[in-house]
């Protein structure tokens, strides 16, 4: 994928670019808002990663201009500001995701993945999500594995739905908190892990092939055993 990185801190930009290149992405790096904007307007990128505070033109203004020009490229805003309504402001300006510095690289990768690949089962009228032997009926709110019904609590259903729409991709704890609970903060205790282990009990226990895996230092992934 072709990524545009706009980040004024040279060290951070370098580390971002080298990390993403190792993942097989092509990266263009710019250090000011105006350079970043003209690059984004001139080239087709799959994703733009932009720092919120930039010289000349700040990140949110760049995003606003891009959106006003009709560009739909997904934008991930990086920010040193961790405040609750900053995230809201960032999303309101037209960006697609907001990540607070410092962040884990695995978190960044998971979010890039989530932004550049269309979320599964997004079509209107779709009522079934399928991942391998796992089936989720969105109308009857029931889950089955290999035809066997799995009783789920409403929240567990929503977690599983979140995973199934992102099957094969890493989902981080913060993504779950934001996506399933709508929380922009970190609960002190690692509650997410407990929720996941319960869900895992329900969908994997008694079956040979586990579907819900832990990715060390990153989060979780739901994938067909193959």
């Amino acid at each position: 994928m072709r990524l545009l990185i706009v980040e004024d801190d040279v060290e951070t930009a370098r580390y971002l670019a080298s990390g993403l290149r190792e993942e097989g992405h092509g990266c263009d790096v710019f250090h000011t808002g105006t350079e970043g904007l003209s690059a984004a307007l001139g080239t087709e990128y799959d994703l733009i990663i932009i720092d919120r505070m930039l010289p000349e033109l700040d990140g949110l203004s760049v995003v606003r201009t891009l959106r006003a020009e009709g560009h739909k490229t997904p934008v991930l805003v990086l920010s040193a500001l961790a405040q609750v309504d900053d995230r809201v402001k960032g999303l309101r300006a037209g960006s697609d995701d907001y990540l607070t510095k410092p962040f884990a690289f695995s978190e960044l990768l998971a979010r890039i993945d989530a932004l550049t690949r269309r979320v599964g089962g997004g079509e209107a009228g779709e009522t079934q999500l399928v991942v391998g032997p796992l089936q989720l009926d969105l109308l009857t709110r029931t889950a089955t594995r290999s035809g066997q019904e799995i009783p789920l609590l409403p929240r567990e259903f929503r977690i599983l739905e979140y995973f199934m729409r992102r099957a094969g991709r890493v989902v981080t704890r913060t993504m779950l908190l934001e996506g399933v609970w709508d929380y922009n903060f970190d609960p002190q205790t690692n509650v997410i892990d407990v929720h996941i282990s319960r869900l895992r009990q329900k969908i994997d226990k008694g079956f040979d092939v586990p579907l819900l895996h832990t990715v060390r230092g990153a989060g979780y992934i739901l994938k067909d055993g193959a």
Binding site: Q83, W181, F185, T189, V191, V194, H195
Partner: protein, 462 residues
Amino acid sequence: MRRAGIGAVWRTTAVRLAALFTLLFSLLLGAGLTAVYIGTIGVVDRQTDATLDAEVRALSERFASGGLSQLVRAIEDRSGRDALADNVYLLVTGSRRRIAGNLSGWPVVEPGAASPEGWISFPVSKRDGAEVKDRQVRALVFDLPQGYRLLVGRDSEDQLEFRRRFFSVVIWVALGTVALGLVSGLFLGRRVLARVERVAEAGERIAAGNLDRRVPVSGRGDEFDRLADAVNAMLDRIEALMQGTRVATDSISHDVRRPLTRVRAELELALRRDLDGEQAQAAMGRALGELDRAVGILNALLNIARAEAGVAGSAWADVDLAQIAGDAAELYQPIAEERGVTLTLDLATPAQTRGEVQLLAQAVANLIDNALKYAPAGTGAVTIATGPGPSLTVSDNGPGIPPEARDTVTERFVRLDAARGGEGSGLGLSLVRAVLRMHGGTLTLEDAQPGLRATITLPPHP
């Protein structure tokens, strides 16, 4: 007081107040004097005019009934040919020839000076002993049939003199009022404002860095003492906050340094020992964990600082504490089960308020987190209930917090069971308190016998 030109003087409150009051007082005085004028000179003027009018009417009736001879006799009777009399009469023919009266000839009146009703005013020279005086006469002119003209007048010099005196008195009074008003206003204003000046001076000195200075209090208990007391209370609070900031900064450096020290140690050891792949991985994993911990502490501190400085913002919305509590409880439900703590919800009472959902949710989550953490494993019982206020109560049956510690536990980094170790950074309750302060609410910690009952109360939904 700085003095730099008229503009600067005008800007002082003392001058403006004095000017304003002088103006007001002058207006009042003007209204009063006008009333006096109308009530005295005005009345006399009108009476004179009425008398002259009646006289003219009587004489013209005499003319109508008795002809010219009767009129002449009547005039002669009344004027007595006395040139010094106060009343003036003159009857002339159509060609202005004098027939009767105590005036030697038709007066010279400036053209246009006569009013349409026939009122005129003219000077008459009168001999008073050796002196000859010019005296002003006010008269009414009346045209009789056959071209005769009648003039009846009255010496108005005394009235005029009274009027002149009256106006000179008015002018002196007005000048005196303005002068006295300005001077006394300035004097009083300066005296009063001098005390304000002292407050301002103290403020400037404090702003310059003299934080332990206070505004002098006179002890009279007046408004200025109240101002000084309020300013001093504010200064006390600022000093306490500064003190708090200093303590917090110390704790921050201490608490952030701890994980950083461990990171450093892990990495340095890994380097020194030239660890093999797997061991190095493990060491770096631990280092990352500690770094995350340091970042977590900083983020929590930022959140607290922001909530403490916070005011109602764009992110405020209508929120239901019951729903927030329900969601948070649901998030913690598996943890409760894992620890063998029963979680009971009583969220029937609606608890509508306004605020920042994320911060309120985090505050509620922190309270539940604590309750689950400190309730006894296996036999713990935690109750979350909404109440009137609106309020939300989280109670547990753990060790509770002793009364003397209930104030300090909400300070940053304060942990009662620090000696026992365990998870936590001592920032949870600080955030709760800051969030509530931001929302105009309160956090109360009470004894749940046994355990802790934490209640947050928020302003009702407007």
